[in-house]
Amino acid sequence: MKITTTINGQPTILDGHPMSRLLDAIRATGLTGTKEGCGEGECGACGVLLDGALVNSCLTPLAHAEGVAITTIEGVSSGEMLHEVQEAFLEYGGAQCGICTPGMVLAAVELLSRNPDPTEDDVRVALAGNLCRCTGYMRIFESVLEAAKKQ
């Protein structure tokens, strides 16, 4: 089944079984920034935005991507210009081993799009679906709060 979609602004045809995972179809295009962690919706490493809303791509059947605009981690920066959230992750040590980072960044980007001035509690709630195996949560929360200040 061929699915017509847009990934990071580029019209893209994804081919696969309609019940296959959007995660695998995205990675097959070469966009491997989207990670597989748990494969059951617990860890958030496979997070992408569908029409601006955070979803777990491991729980999204390919057929549900028809006609939607997908943003992956590769589409968050503008060329060489990193997003404020990415800059803050660099500056405040929000990234360690890196496997959770794409999902964390996208969850934070979605939060700031809904709520430009979040409290720490808002950040904790927004990132509750994202697990960091390095357990570097405090610096991640700090990074998101700093990114919000800079926006």
Binding site: M19, G41, P61, A107, V125, N130
Partner: protein, 303 residues
């Protein structure tokens, strides 16, 4: 491990009519919405092979609207949409709390209220709230529409009052305090009298899990309480994860209704609760802990 997908068919009809016709032509086909549970089961290798019909494009199943009876919530309404609805926040605050407790943001953006009901998990987070608000389900198939009280909808573990080809189209909540409408008599499921506008209602919702975020509940408790003139005027209590289905605690309510809210009444209510729940030992908790926590939640709700 992802099973071989050749054994699965997935179609995404473009309208409700298309979906209902497809389901009528394929009585074994299974409808689904956001897929947040279906895909987990698929990846675990436990999803039965066959035809699956996505309701994703059924625009008729969207929207939160005022209705004659109270409010009508389209089955495709996501947990995120529930949280953002001022109509629900003002009139049915427990529904917003339950939606906030269901998974993380990524799940809340895709999971739907209709799916939460139809998935029929005894540990689901919104169904106890739907029970205390006396929800009515609107069911639709290619041959017509019917309405059933939610309180009798779950017939046993994963068994529902749902015919082949029939889906949940809307969840109807009758008027509660603060709203002028009254429940429609024909579909009213309530035991005891209805809450009336202006009644001082205490609302309570608490989900107990391994951690605050994301976890599946060990026990979930929803309650509405109206105490006035030193007596319980009416009360509604429902629980998740303590029986093969979510349950309305009718015996516990009976032990409270009309009584002064004192230590004797609360002790009697606790005894009643422990007779009508049937918690089990499983991967998330054990029967003894669940019974104790259910009783503790009842006490917290009443105090």
């Amino acid at each position: 491990m992802i099973p071989l997908l050749e054994d699965y068919q997935l179609v995404v009809p473009r309208s409700l009519r298309g979906a209902l016709d497809d389901l009528a032509q394929h009585p074994q086909a299974r409808p689904f919405a956001g897929g947040t549970d279906l895909m987990v089961v698929l990846e675990a290798g436990h999803l039965p092979p066959g035809r699956y019909v996505s309701l994703q494009n059924c625009r008729e199943l969207l929207g939160i609207e005022r209705a004659r009876e109270g409010v009508s919530i389209g089955a495709l309404t996501t947990y995120s949409e529930i949280q953002r609805s001022p109509l629900l926040a003002d009139n049915y605050p427990l529904l917003r709390l339950a939606a906030l407790e269901t998974g993380g943001i990524a799940t809340q953006n895709r999971g739907t209220i209709g799916g939460n009901v139809a998935n029929a998990s005894p540990a689901a987070d919104t169904p106890p709230v739907l029970l205390v608000y006396d929800a009515v389900l609107e069911l639709v198939s290619a041959s017509g529409t019917r309405r059933v009280p939610y309180v009798g909808f779950h017939r046993g573990y994963k068994k529902m009052d749902l015919q082949p080809g029939e889906i949940i189209s809307r969840v109807l909540l009758p008027g509660v305090a603060g709203q002028g409408s009254r429940p429609a008599e024909t579909v009213r499921a309530s035991v005891g009298r209805a809450f009336r506008p202006g009644d001082p209602i205490r609302s309570y919702y608490r989900k107990v899990g391994t951690r605050r975020a994301q976890a599946i509940s060990k026990v979930c408790f929803a309650g509405l309480l109206h105490v006035e003139a030193a007596a319980v005027q009416d009360v509604r209590i429902a629980l998740g994860s303590v029986a093969p289905t979510v349950i309305r605690a009718l015996a516990t309510e009976d032990a409270l209704r009309g009584q002064p809210l004192d230590a004797t009444t609360i002790a009697a209510a606790e005894r009643a609760l422990l007779t009508e729940i049937a918690p089990i030992d499983d991967i998330r908790s054990n029967a003894r802990y669940r019974g104790r926590v259910a009783a503790n939640l009842l006490r917290e709700f009443l105090s």
